[in-house]
């Protein structure tokens, strides 16, 4: 009898130990620019907690529209601060769970290793085209515009500026040579494909408003322990180290 009881206890304990494997997965929406660091975060998070993640990567605008349309995401990592705030105001995000998980860094980059010497390269205008993301749709485009306004170059550079609809297209302009240089995210330049290639000038954060990227727990994820655990994990030192390594700053 004692042996049976002991065995039953062992079974119950072992089954409990394995519960994360059978818990409800966490459905996460991640802005495309944050996917590379998030992959590493996800691995570490899974190792640490055992919670299962289902990750969708895409544009923040699309995710915002999907969430408003009833998409059952538990948590939303946005590329800006505006949309998480809107979701909170609209009752789709949980109050007091929103915070800035990363601050984007703007960089002037060219595949030509000899082109960019610093801000003087921008002033010298010895280039045909300069690519930026559209300020109407991309936070990094707004930051690029603010930088050039502060340097009093925005008006005079108008004939040379080409606009991409998003950061990916902007990088495409520069990569293909249609623009000799351009303002992109530092995290893009940190990608293995471009690391140690070309020349760059990291734009001082004093020249533009901070590019805050906020995360928010959504109402659907309120009762999912995995979602809450992920929110906590993103603020932990190991997670912060990963985020910084990918070219983001932290608050």
């Amino acid at each position: 009898m004692i042996l049976r009881l002991l065995t039953a206890c062992v079974v119950i304990l072992v089954t409990m130990a394995g519960t994360p494997a059978f818990a409800e997965p966490v459905l996460v929406a991640v802005a495309a620019n944050f996917i590379p660091p998030f992959r590493e975060l996800a691995i570490e998070f899974e190792k640490a907690t055992g919670h299962q993640l289902k990750v969708a990567g895409g544009s923040s605008g699309n995710f915002y529209a999907q969430i408003k349309h009833g998409a059952p995401f538990d948590i939303f990592f946005s590329a800006d601060a505006e949309r998480p705030k809107l979701l909170e105001d609209e009752g789709l995000g949980v109050k007091d769970t929103r915070f800035t998980y990363a601050i984007g860094r703007l960089v002037l980059w060219s595949p030509n290793a000899d082109l960019i010497k610093g801000v003087e390269t921008l002033r010298a205008k010895q280039y045909k085209k300069l690519a930026i993301a559209n300020p109407k749709t991309a936070p990094y485009g707004v930051a690029a515009m603010q930088t050039m306004q502060k340097l009093e170059l925005w008006e005079s550079l108008q004939p040379q500026i080409v606009m991409g609809e998003n950061l990916g297209q902007t990088m495409g302009f520069i990569e293909s040579g249609n623009a000799q240089l351009g303002f992109v995210a530092l995290s893009q330049v940190m990608d293995a494909k471009f690391k140690d290639k070309g020349s760059r000038w990291e734009v001082p954060t004093t020249l533009h408003e901070p590019i805050n990227q906020d995360v928010i727990l959504l109402t659907k994820g309120q009762k999912n322990p995995g979602a809450k655990a992920l929110l906590e994990f993103v603020g932990s030192p190991p997670a912060k180290a990963i985020i910084e390594r990918f070219g983001y700053e932290l608050k």
Binding site: L3, R4, T7, A8, V10, V11, V14, T15, M16, A17, G18, P20, A21, P25, L27, A29, P36, R39, A42, I43, E46, G50, H51, Q52, L53, K54, V55, A56, G57, G58, Q66, H69, G70, A71, P72, F73, P111, N112, D114, L115, G172, E175, S176, G177, N178, Q180, A192, K193
Partner: protein, 534 residues
């Protein structure tokens, strides 16, 4: 310990094992609404009709299942998994022949390379294609005695690619090819030549130099030296044959310079490889092919190609078959888009000598299409081709157009053991409907009417000819059905059926006497193929 207690302990073991297994790996995908509702009244936004998603929401995993399996089983690390999964689009590690050949022919998930944990600077790929095909009532002179019996074959094509250099400036590529065909209806009357059989040979073997940003101009240039295949323009004059069981290849030098997706110019000087069925292929110094080809994509509605190709082929003993041509051509086109018209015009002119006679020939092509902006995006396309033929055989002027090293399947009909029609002595109007139920499926129906341009000249490469012209020029018409299913980049299926209603040309006494018995009767052709690439 009692037996019951022992059973309890034994039952505990699997539960213990299950309970301690690690959690399932992170999944990547997209959240989509599983159904689409069409609004009762059409809503148009940005020129496209709007479909309203209506749930339920489902998470669709978009990961490659084979790479995912390798990761989940620990065969490759998470980091390596992400690296290989990202090798698409702009991050594609392009092989050394990326500017020579169509991307769809050389881009697939490198399962074997990943499974063997090979580094990125080394490329390894295997491809195997199996097909069964059959047609009845052969018409070619060479197929006597065909007796109307079906010619059924199983062509097999195997290829191996081995590359060095990754995305670096200096690269090397070897591509081996083995093409053979098993006859299911006996050798007698079967179509069998070097377009079907080329056993165990070298398709490509070259060194290449790539410079991505020439002198800071943003231009890319590529040099290739060795044996290579080429797809140029819309492949009417130079192609790496795909449907055919064997492919053209060339020995020599190729240079390209351009700005991606805007313009490019290529120039080449090569010796076409002489394929031999069972021996190693040969070079022949008496055949030289050279040219330059410009492609401009500055304006979507007005994309333009212009080219000059030179050929000096004096390798055969029969002087009448020597070909010394200059070919000049141009192409204007717009690519298809939903809700828009598209078009393609190609005009090609040939000057020179065939044997001792003067050669002057031309080819004109017109496509007009429209892609409907509705589900499955049906595209209706009208074709017209005119390839000149020889008006008076035996005079001092040869006017039969020569398509050089072009491909035909994409606009005429399947080639391989079938393919009766060539861009020579031909005119043909027709239409085609292409629908794409989803990105994996392409369904086509085509109808074309075929005539000889000059009734006294040869019909294609069939060997059939009525020098009097009394047989007329009506070759008939064909209806073709085709379905393609790409499971992913690594596995695809293709099936097709053609019915050729033969025209009055084949019922004339002169042509009947030249053909296998029953060659004048309508022919049916079908094929089914599977291609696997790892």
């Amino acid at each position: 310990m009692s037996k019951k207690s022992l059973w309890w302990v034994l039952l505990t073991v699997p539960v213990l094992f299950l309970g301690t297994t690690t959690a399932k790996a992170v999944e990547y995908g997209e959240l989509v609404e599983d159904e689409v509702c069409l609004p009762t009244a059409p809503i148009i936004s940005s020129g496209r009709s709007v479909e309203i998603p209506c749930g339920p929401w489902v998470f669709k995993n978009t990961e490659d299942p084979v790479f995912k399996y390798m990761r989940d089983t620990g065969w490759i690390s998470h980091e390596r998994y992400f690296a290989v999964s990202d090798q698409t689009g702009k991050n594609w590690i392009e092989p050394a022949d990326a500017v020579l050949n169509r991307r769809k022919d050389i881009d697939w998930n490198r399962y074997l390379k990943t499974g063997l944990r090979l580094p990125d600077w080394l490329d390894l790929g295997l491809e195997q294609r199996s097909r069964i095909e059959s047609y009845d009532h052969p018409w070619r002179v060479s197929q006597v005695p065909g007796d109307g019996a079906p010619d059924t074959q199983v062509p097999l094509r195997s290829r191996v690619r081995f590359g060095l250099g990754g995305n670096g400036p200096v690269r090397f590529l070897f591509e081996g090819n083995d093409s053979r065909s098993f006859l299911l209806s006996g050798a007698e009357g079967s179509f069998r030549d070097t377009t079907m059989v080329n056993e165990f040979d070298i398709l490509q073997l070259f060194g290449a130099l790539k410079l991505d940003n020439v002198l800071g101009t943003g231009l890319r240039t590529d040099f290739h030296f060795g044996r290579m295949t080429m797809d140029v323009g819309n492949r009417r004059m130079i192609a790496r044959n795909d449907f055919r069981n064997t492919s053209n290849s060339f020995d020599g030098f190729h240079w390209l310079i351009g700005r991606e997706k805007l313009w490019q110019v290529r120039a080449f000087v090569v010796e076409p490889v002489i394929r031999l069925m069972e021996q190693m292929d040969q070079q022949n110094k008496n055949t030289l092919f050279w040219g330059t080809y410009f492609e401009g994509q500055h304006f979507p509605w007005f994309q333009m190609d212009a080219y000059y190709l030179g050929l000096n082929d004096i390798r055969v003993a029969n002087v009448a078959n020597h070909r010394t041509y200059s070919t000049f051509g141009g192409r204007l086109y717009k690519n298809p888009k939903p809700g828009e018209l598209d078009y393609e015009i190609e005009t090609t002119w040939q000057f020179g000598h065939r044997g001792v006679t003067d050669h002057f020939a031309y080819f004109q092509h017109l496509d007009l299409g429209y892609m409907f902006n509705v589900r499955w995006t049906p595209r209706l396309l009208f074709h017209f081709d005119y390839a000149s033929g020889d008006r008076k055989p035996g005079d001092s002027q040869d006017e039969s157009f020569d398509t050089l090293f072009g491909a035909r399947n994409f606009e005429y009909m399947p080639t391989s053991i079938w393919g009766p029609f060539y861009r020579a002595n031909l005119w043909s109007p027709g239409w085609r409907l292409i629908i794409t139920p989803n990105p994996s499926w392409i369904l086509e129906v085509k109808h074309r009417v075929w005539y000889l341009a000059q009734s006294k000249d040869f019909f294609g490469q069939s060997g059939l000819r009525d020098p009097t012209g009394n047989s007329g020029s009506s070759l008939g018409q064909d209806v073709q059905l085709r379905a393609r299913w790409a499971v992913n980049k690594n596995l695809d299926f293709d099936a097709g059926y053609v019915h050729w209603f033969k025209g009055s040309y084949f019922d004339s006494p002169t042509i009947l006497a030249e053909m296998p018995t029953g060659g004048n009767k309508d022919s049916d052709y079908f094929y089914f193929q599977m291609r696997i690439r790892i």
